[in-house]
Amino acid sequence: MSGEVTVLYFARLREAVGTSEERIVLPESIANAGALLEHLAASDEQKKFAFEGQDIKIAVNQEQATPATPIAPGDEVALFPPVTGG
């Protein structure tokens, strides 16, 4: 395992973060999606600002997830605002 996760951003959040996709080396201490979010915010001012006060939805490997959802190297973690399709 490479020890990396792919993080995807969509819509308003993608614009605020300034990227649609990135590879993140997963520190061993990070076991779930919520901890990954905190890690991302702590290591990047722009993300910290982008996440602040926002209702951020999480998907892990294309399935709805919560901050408690476990993550592992190789996973695809998507972060996005509440959906507005239909």
Binding site: F10, A11, A78, F80, P81, V83, G86
Partner: protein
Amino acid sequence: MPVRIQPEPFDAGAELMALTTGRPDIGASVTFVGQVRELSGGSTLSTMTLEHYPAMAQAELERIEGEARTRFDVQDIEVIHRFGDLSPGDPIVLVIATSASRQPAFDAANFIMDFLKTNAPFWKKEHAADGSYWVDAKSSDDAATQRWDK
């Protein structure tokens, strides 16, 4: 294909015809078409961009469709959702549900639209004369989905 995500327009009549022709077991068909509305809030829309998360949108719509088939006594379900740049009047989403009698078809189409609205990863960005804005999610949509919990 029961779930299609595409940039192209669709022909609801042709889809309904394809689904029901040669199917004497079908006694009822419900077709829902969602379109781009010109008036959004206070401003007049010129165009709209629909962003989506392709792999998850497909998976999520298939999950919703599968759940509808489990819950309701339907013969067939078809869902088409578009993405990309759309103009007022353009069709965005199509749901067709067919069944032997009307109630399962009505219920399945309603159920699918409620869950699609709150769970399928699509995001609308509206472009008006005074700028471009991401559409905010509505709490009334969450309430519509929650009533199926009962």
